[in-house]
């Protein structure tokens, strides 16, 4: 039964551009993008339990790498792939430097990466246009064809992220990462090369945002540092995974779809208070549903226990 539903959903998503108008297609493209970001974060944040806030850094770097490559004449799909590769290399180097930090130190170190990249992008004016932003070459396609193209591109990125997640969850790597999440010292004792596993997870958590950044840059045709290094790009995927279930295969997808539906339906009427409402949702989620919607039933029990403990 579940397989049938999954198959029907997949078919619907493939034929969506033929049946839906451009508005629906745009929302669906955004959902695909955030699914890929959330699934990417889940590798390091969910499986390995390392609270990474570097998604915005990877997304922005991917967007700028692919954008700059395209202005230098590299064809669009090649620029996306190269951008992803550059981000992967960057994550490998960065991961070696900061993945031996734990807990708070890692979280803040990863949070600052986007700030640093933003500053560098702002200063490298001749390459990136600095604060003026970067205009990408305009495609010679009509609007509908472009919408379809970018929908399928984001769809492919999300599907690849989902496939990789399923693969990782079932094999040695996923097992090792879960060991690290539960007790890293014990994992070292058992002979797991934790640094290698963590670096691989970090690279996986970087590649998908990196490629999505590249696609996004081509999609919107113009990027600037405050847009693509926005810290919300790091936070929203985390909220989505929290909503859908941390460390699960489909959690990121459920969370992204639910979150963006909420955003579309409710928040577009509250433009002045967008970030504030997101804050309220984050707080409510952490306090009342720390295990996502799937843990909603027994989260209440834990809630009572915890308040009992905090106020003796």
């Amino acid at each position: 039964m579940m397989r049938l539903i999954a198959l029907a959903a997949a078919v619907l998503l493939v034929i969506l551009p033929a049946v839906a108008d451009n508005y629906v297609l745009r929302v669906a493209t955004t959902m695909m993008m955030y699914s890929a970001l959330a699934l990417g974060w889940n590798f390091i944040g969910g499986f390995a339990g390392y609270p990474s806030f570097a998604t915005a850094a990877f997304f922005g770097l991917g967007a700028y790498a692919s954008g700059v490559l395209q202005t230098k004449g590299v064809p669009m799909p090649a620029a996306w792939a190269l951008g992803g590769a550059i981000v992967a290399l960057f994550a490998a180097a960065l991961g070696r430097a900061i993945l031996h930090l734990r807990g708070h130190y890692f979280a803040i170190a990863s949070l600052v990466v986007a700030e640093v990249l933003r500053e560098i992008t702002n200063s490298a004016t001749d390459l990136t246009g600095g604060g003026m932003g970067l205009n990408l070459p305009v495609l010679s396609l009509d609007v509908t064809a472009q919408a379809r193209l970018f929908y399928y591109a984001m769809f492919a990125a999300a599907a690849a992220a989902l496939g990789t997640t399923a693969l990782v969850a079932g094999n040695r790597l996923g097992f090792g990462l879960r060991c690290i999440q539960q007790n890293e010292d014990a994992a070292i004792m058992l002979g797991i090369n934790t640094l290698r596993y963590k670096v691989i997870a970090f690279i996986l958590s970087a590649v998908f945002p990196g490629v999505c950044g590249g696609i996004y840059a081509s999609w919107v045709n113009y990027i600037d540092p405050t847009d693509v290094y926005d810290v919300l790009l790091s936070v929203k995927p985390i909220v989505m995974v929290l909503l859908g279930g941390v460390g699960t295969v489909m959690g990121g997808v459920y969370g992204a779809v639910l979150f963006l539906l909420m955003e579309e339906l409710v928040w577009r009427n509250l433009l002045q208070f967008h970030a504030g409402l997101l804050g309220i949702i984050v707080v409510a989620l952490v306090l009342f549903l720390p295990h996502g919607l799937r843990g909603a039933g027994w989260a209440k029990l834990r809630w009572r226990q915890r308040t009992g403990e905090a106020a003796p």
């Binding site: 979280a107 640093v116 200063s123 936070v235 929290l242 208070f273 970030a275 984050v282 720390p290």
Partner: protein, 288 residues
């Protein structure tokens, strides 16, 4: 002479930095919570001082205790209402919670104060003094004095007062402190309140030296973190050393590389330090 001038600038800046970071370090050390709100609390203190000066003509330096008191109440309430409920949870949960609260506070500040930059401009201006060729603006000098005095006051409070000893006891061993009759959740609230009070005081001083906007908050948070890591977590003197070090480093790097790279340089330094000496200049092991 230029180098001495840059060094003095760095020290003056560093004094204020210590004050900015000390509350953050206290909350981190005692509650084991990274307080993402810290930058916004500083800016809130700055706005309070700014409006007090503009409408009531209260000197920002005299406003320091008021800002500290207001922010203490806010911090105490935030801890009791929200953060106490997730004490002891994994980093992701506590961090995400303060992040959410920060988004809310940021949005409220944008609505209330707009994103324009403002600055307290003292009239008449205090001018500057010339110490054997080194020029120091007097308002900055007073700010530094206030900042270091506040850090010293916090140190004395933790060392000497009953509540301070209770805070240190909770940091060392929560369970043992509880068994000795310390009301841990109240101590958490007082600690968070003190952290916020230091932020408010630092904010009042900040409003005299720099333009403020809700957008400044993240940069201040980043600095607080760098200072804590530089100095080592877990001690007030460590924060002072970290603050002064960062001030000096930023001054010299602005001289050599230009001010636009200040975040990059302090972050690179941070990574190097974390790779080779994760406990910081003055720190002890065991606070990771």
């Amino acid at each position: 002479m230029l180098y001495v001038q840059v060094l003095v600038n760095g020290l003056v800046l560093g004094g204020l930095y210590s004050c900015i970071a000390v509350g953050f370090s206290l909350v981190w050390g005692v509650l084991n919570v990274i307080n993402i709100l810290h930058g916004s609390l500083i800016i809130l203190g700055s706005y309070a001082a700014f409006f007090a000066y503009q409408y009531l003509h209260i000197n920002p330096f005299l406003f320091v205790p008021v800002a500290a008191f207001l922010l203490f109440c806010l911090g105490y309430a935030i801890q009791l209402a929200f953060i106490n409920r997730v004490m002891g949870s994994p980093v992701l949960i506590t961090l995400t919670l303060t992040f959410g609260l920060n988004l809310l506070l940021y949005n409220l500040m944008i609505l209330a104060f707009k994103a324009d930059f403002r600055k307290v401009i003292l009239s008449p201006p205090l001018g500057s003094i010339n110490l054997g060729g080194v020029i120091v603006p007097i308002d900055r000098l007073i700010s530094m004095g206030f900042a270091l005095a506040l850090v010293g006051l916090l140190y004395a409070l933790l060392r000497g007062s009953r509540i301070g000893r209770a805070i240190v006891a909770v940091r060392m061993d929560r369970e043992a402190a509880q068994l000795m009759g310390v009301n841990v959740s109240r101590i958490y609230a007082v600690t968070f309140g003190l952290g916020a009070a230091m932020a408010g005081a630092a904010g009042s001083l900040f409003s005299v030296m720099f333009p403020i906007s809700p957008e400044t908050a993240n940069a201040l948070l980043g600095k607080a973190f760098v200072i804590c890591v530089l100095g080592g977590l877990g001690s007030v003197p460590g924060v002072m050393v970290g603050g002064l070090t960062l001030g000096i480093i930023e001054s010299y790097s602005a001289l050599f590389f230009g001010p636009e790279y200040s975040v990059t340089i302090s972050f690179t330094l941070l990574i190097l330090l974390l790779m080779f000496r994760p406990t910081g200049i003055m720190g002890r092991r065991g606070y990771q």
